[in-house]
Symmetry: C2
Subunit: 135 residues, 2 copies
């Protein structure tokens, strides 16, 4: 099996602040958090991204992400939760092992997660994009 | 049943650029895209967010998101894909019906989806946060 920092965390070879697990997924605190309680949920097996992860494994990952979201809301008083997954280097994926960020959000911050991507200049019409997709 | 803009889209009462569906989920192009091909995947029933969505429905939503991600990669030449879900107004959720954004990313842009949230000032140590969660 290919090894990643996350497979080592799952196997206990790298310590982590574990939050939970189920048959195919494992959750722990991100050590470089964007907000307090920022967590990661990963499949136990090192699928690279959403493109190569089987459906049942994806299901286990998102179900554990929901559990972590509820835990962070209840225990840290998060006012909202972002779920974010980056697939491919151009989408800002850094570790080649699928991971879903579970990011608690707090009233005090007034940040907008879309601020950065809104800088992108959309040049094609939605009709033209749809034609390409359906071609 | 509570009505939302998304239940109206699912029922065909509001037109959309439909990309696909399965038993519990429905996918279409976002009409206010951040990048070309920006899509939304929603449960057919109007669950408000990840907190109140049953596990099997979440599974259908993420599986359809994967299919849409592959479609956008293949048809639009996306170099990467972000999956983003906002849960709660403080997480920048605007429509109270769970939705997963599927956002194609392109080499030309050089944007970082984490740029905005990195402005948040983390003040608590990860150890203190973990103690709170485990309390």
């Amino acid at each position: 099996m290919r090894e990643t920092v996350f497979t080592k965390i799952v196997k206990g070879e790298i310590p982590c602040f574990k939050l939970g697990e189920n048959e195919n997924a494992f959750a722990f605190l991100d050590i470089n958090p964007v907000t307090e309680g920022h967590s990661l949920v990963v499949p136990k097996y090192p699928y690279r991204n959403i493109f190569d992860t089987p459906e049942n494994i994806l299901g286990d990952v998102i179900v554990l992400a929901k559990e972590v979201a509820i835990l962070l809301k209840d225990k840290l008083g998060a006012d909202g939760i972002n779920i974010v997954s980056s697939n491919g280097r151009e989408a800002n994926q850094e570790i080649e092992h699928l991971h879903f960020h579970v990011v608690p959000r707090y009233k005090k911050e007034s940040l907008n997660i879309w601020q950065e991507l809104r800088k992108y200049q959309v040049t094609e019409t939605i009709e033209d994009v749809y034609k390409k997709i359906k071609s």
